[in-house]
């Protein structure tokens, strides 16, 4: 293909050579994957909305009984800071700041993601203690599935961060690793995007 219209990812710039070509196809492919994943979340959002009525609640505990908006706010802050921290990874790769800085920012991302999961799991446990288990109603099934799937994504992202850190240590910042880091970036920011939807639709709408 021509040189025009190459994928304008952050890892591209002077001196990255063949990473251009590889990123062109691979990162584009990952964007396509993310679109497909977005369809999954889209359907779960729609399902959640459809169960958010008296029939779906089925006499079980509802949003007012279960949601702790302060904890949700903390989770939001942690996750969005995690997204910001990934900018550190991207910039360190782009400006060739060396592997230590890349590793440090990766560790920061994992830490913030882990803290997010801590608060999320704590909320789940509290809710289950109040009878808000997924088996209690259609609405709770939809809530646990949607928020839980996002949590699983965050967990997978942390595992991926670990795998990338290992690759950076073992392989160094070769072209393949750079391309994968930029895909991980797409994924990590995608989790923020989904969370904004969850924060608004799952928590704010029923509490409003």
């Amino acid at each position: 293909m021509s040189d025009q219209g190459l994928y304008p990812g952050l890892n591209l710039g002077e001196g990255h050579g063949e990473a251009h070509d590889e990123a062109e196809t691979t990162v584009f492919g990952f964007w396509v994957f993310v679109m497909s994943d977005l369809v999954i979340f889209g359907i779960l959002f729609a399902s959640y909305a459809s169960y958010l009525d008296p029939v779906g609640l089925a006499g079980g505990p509802g949003p007012q009984d279960l949601f702790d908006i302060r904890s949700v706010a903390i989770q939001t802050a942690l996750l969005l800071l995690g997204g910001t921290a990934y900018a550190g990874v991207s910039l360190a790769v782009k400006y060739e700041h060396g592997r230590d800085r890349v590793l440090a920012f990766l560790a920061l991302c994992a830490l913030l993601g882990g803290a997010f999961l801590f608060f999320e799991v704590r909320d789940f446990a509290t809710q289950a203690g109040k009878g808000g288990v997924p088996q209690a109603s259609g609405w709770l099934s939809a809530y646990w599935a949607l928020v839980g799937l996002h949590g699983i994504h965050v967990f997978a992202g942390i595992v991926w961060i670990g795998a990338m850190a290992a690759q950076v240590l073992k392989r160094g910042l070769d072209d393949a690793v750079k391309v994968r880091l930029s895909m991980l970036g797409v994924f990590w920011h995608f989790l923020d995007l989904i969370w904004v939807g969850i924060f608004s639709l799952v928590f704010l709408v029923p509490l409003a």
């Binding site: 293909m1 679109m35 999954i40 029939v55 646990w144 595992v159 392989r171």
Partner: protein
């Protein structure tokens, strides 16, 4: 029904095989069940024996199972599809045999070859297999084989991912197959609607088999869609603008986009049903806030686009063969592109017609009825375009054209009955009768099956280097046409007479003549299947006489016909520069199409890897373990998949280099063969003189 769960083997014990059923009760139903299981066991033993006896394990592993080559992956998909098709057709015949013997009385309705529960398993596996493990592998296989060649690319964008996709599809197919021998399959039809398929009404392993086969193979199909889309967007040869792509590439692009957006809906609906069954969630249960309408909605968000995922590649094939076998340019290229894209888009807007009768308002039904009818417009455009392509062309009645003729006649009937069903008020009368069964077989068999078989016939020489026997090819095609007519047109009549679909019995003798006609049709379909197998065998025996090393047996116009047959693994010695739609045809018009490239360079090929095979094994083990509640195996298999991915990511994998000298050597020999071989005219292409080198002057006019 529910068995105790042990720590090692889960719910598995010796009571789950059809042989145990046979020992308990001997009747025609248990004999059929045990017979089918025996066919599976004997088939597996025979396959292992042949591979061992011929010493083919090594070549199979090295050349096929570990190859990331899209052409080989495509062939493996098609083999998988054909094997599953044999089972699907035989099941159809068993169902027809049952119904022909199933006239009971009101006092004693249960009669016929198989028990009602067995019959329900038959239509459930038949539908599941035909949609997910026949049609999908056939079309994905054909696209894998053809698409990169038509685009002027060496391979897919992600060759190893392609391998993984195949592995996941095969793992799903394997789960459906093993359900024949170990345990039972679900009885909820291919859609497995809850609440019937929930834990309360279907406590056994049957629905779980369906769920895991669908979840695993569904992920494979999603990944395939991404691979196709990225390949089309990023790997086209220089000069291959979108409006220069062959029509098959266009329909592949539509299919790819549809897979990306439609498959996740199936993943979600199946996952929710799995959560209901395994973890006591209440998405689709009758109580505690469950709502099965959400299942119908989400499932058909996938299910409706799916039928166009199935048909669009066939439309691509018909576009190619109508042009090639009438020696004319495709009529209305642009309108065919627009029609394909329109079909892809409209297909996402009509899903609700699958539940017209399930309680929404008349206004909603009208909107979706009209949307459904609209899809007839682009489809009609296509039919007219193909007819106009053939009009006053030099049409040769080769096997693909026989299929296409059958398609013209029968598919239009199927489309018409679809328009009838799209009217909600008519749908209220006939939607759950065999009229509906007749309709969808009437579009899927002439559309998908004929299209795929025509495509296999058309591209077979490119894959294996020899043509398929024309006489047997035509006989097969005619048998499939006759078989369809007898097997399915009677179902329209019976549907209008009031026979419900999926019913294991009936009491009215007025159905009998039509049942017998349908039974005859099933026998013809079996004969067609045998004839198809025989076509492959005869052609393989005569492969010397049928060989076409020149690679262009039909005097084609698209890029893939410029390479030798069978295609070398690198496909093109150097990536072609495309200057025209029908580039190869234009090069023939210009004269000297086989000019050698100016220079040869080293070619990088992705290295062979067992990655896909290992992931397939882990996915199969995961599915099987989940079906039988073997938790330790499920956890191990589940963890194996990310472990395999991480392990692969840690290593630097060097591509395999094919040296310029090797490429040049093989390419020179090909061009010398073409130069010294007498070209043949179109009229001679079914004769043994056809060596794959056509008379290019026929393109000049």
């Amino acid at each position: 029904m529910s068995r105790p769960v042990g720590p090692v083997f889960g719910k598995l014990d010796w009571s789950v095989t059809p042989y145990t059923d046979l020992l308990q009760t001997v009747n025609s139903s248990t004999i059929v069940g045990a017979g089918a299981a025996s066919v599976l066991v004997l088939g597996a033993i025979a396959a292992v024996a042949v591979l061992t006896w011929k010493g083919w394990w090594g070549p199979l592993y090295r050349d096929c199972l570990t190859s990331p080559d899209a052409k080989k992956i495509g062939i493996m998909y098609i083999v998988l599809g054909l094997v599953m098709m044999a089972r699907g057709i035989i099941e159809g015949a068993v169902m027809r045999a049952h119904q022909a013997t199933a006239m009971g009385t009101l006092d004693q309705p249960e009669t016929g070859l198989v028990s009602p529960d067995h019959f329900a398993q038959l239509f459930s596996t038949h539908g599941t297999i035909m949609i997910f493990f026949v049609a999908m592998p056939l079309l994905i296989g054909l696209i894998n084989f053809v698409l990169p060649q038509q685009l002027g690319a060496r391979d897919m964008a992600f060759p190893v991912l392609n391998q993984v996709s195949l592995g996941l599809t095969a793992a799903g197919a394997g789960l459906v197959m093993i359900s024949l021998l170990i345990g039972k399959f679900g009885t909820g039809g291919w859609t497995m609607y809850p609440p019937y398929t929930g834990k309360v009404f279907s406590p056994g392993e049957g629905v779980d088999y369906w769920l895991w086969a669908i979840l695993i193979s569904g992920v494979g199909s999603t990944l395939t869609g991404m691979n196709f889309a990225v390949t089309i967007f990023k790997k086209r040869a220089p000069g291959m603008h979108f409006m220069r792509m062959p029509l098959f590439c266009w329909t592949s692009l539509c299919v790819a986009i549809m897979l990306i957006y439609a498959m996740p809906a199936l993943t979600v609906s199946s996952s929710m049903l799995a959560l209901d069954r395994y973890a006591g969630f209440h998405f689709f249960t009758n109580d505690a806030g469950g709502n099965m309408m959400n299942y119908a909605n989400v499932f058909w968000m996938f299910g409706h686009p799916e039928v166009y995922i199935l048909i669009l590649p066939a439309f691509g094939v018909f576009s190619e063969i109508s042009s090639t076998f009438s020696g004319k340019k495709l009529y209305g290229y642009t309108s065919l592109v627009i029609a394909s894209m329109s079909i892809a888009v409209i297909s996402f807007t009509v899903w609700l017609h699958h539940f017209f009768t399930m309680g929404q308002s008349a206004g909603i039904n009208i909107a979706f009825g009209i949307a459904t009818m609209l899809i007839g417009i682009p489809t009609g455009v296509k039919i007219y375009d193909w007819m106009a392509t053939m009009w006053r062309g030099r049409v040769r009645m080769t096997a693909p054209i026989v299929y296409m003729t059958g398609f013209f006649l029968l598919f239009v009937i199927g489309g018409m009955s679809g328009i009838i069903l799209a009217n909600p008020s008519i749908d209220y009368q006939v939607h759950n009768s065999t009229f509906l069964v007749a309709h969808f077989h009437n579009v899927i068999i002439p559309g998908v099956l004929y299209g795929m078989l025509a495509g296999i016939h058309y591209w077979f020489p490119k894959a294996f280097g020899y043509r398929l026997d024309e006489t047997w090819g035509r006989r097969t095609a005619l048998l499939f046409v006759a078989g369809f007519v007898f097997a399915f047109l009677p179902l329209y009549v019976m549907g209008l007479m009031g026979l419900p679909r999926r019913s294991p019995t009936f009491q009215d003798p007025a159905f009998l003549p039509w049942m017998y006609a349908a039974g005859l049709g099933a026998l013809l379909m079996l004969a067609a299947l045998a004839s198809l197998v025989w076509t492959f065998l005869v052609s393989w025996r005569n492969r010397e006489a049928l060989s076409v090393p020149g690679g262009d047996p039909w005097n084609g116009a698209t890029l893939e016909w410029s390479s030798p047959a069978p295609v070398p693994e690198w496909t093109y010695p150097c990536i072609p520069q495309v200057t025209d739609r029908d580039d190869w045809g234009e090069r023939k018009r210009a004269g000297d199409p086989w000019r050698a490239p100016d220079r040869y360079v080293d070619i990088e090929m992705p290295a062979d890897t067992p990655h896909g095979l290992l992931i397939a094994a882990a996915a199969f083990a995961l599915g099987f373990a989940m079906v039988w509640y073997i938790w330790w195996l499920a956890i191990a298999a589940f963890l194996a998949i990310p472990a395999l991915l991480i392990w692969r990511g840690m290593r630097v994998i060097e591509p395999r280099i094919v040296s310029a000298a090797d490429v040049e050597d093989e390419d020179r020999r090909f061009r010398e063969f073409v130069a010294r071989t007498a070209p043949i005219t179109r009229a001679e292409e079914s004769t043994p003189r056809n060596r794959g080198v056509p008379d290019c002057t026929e393109f000049a006019g």
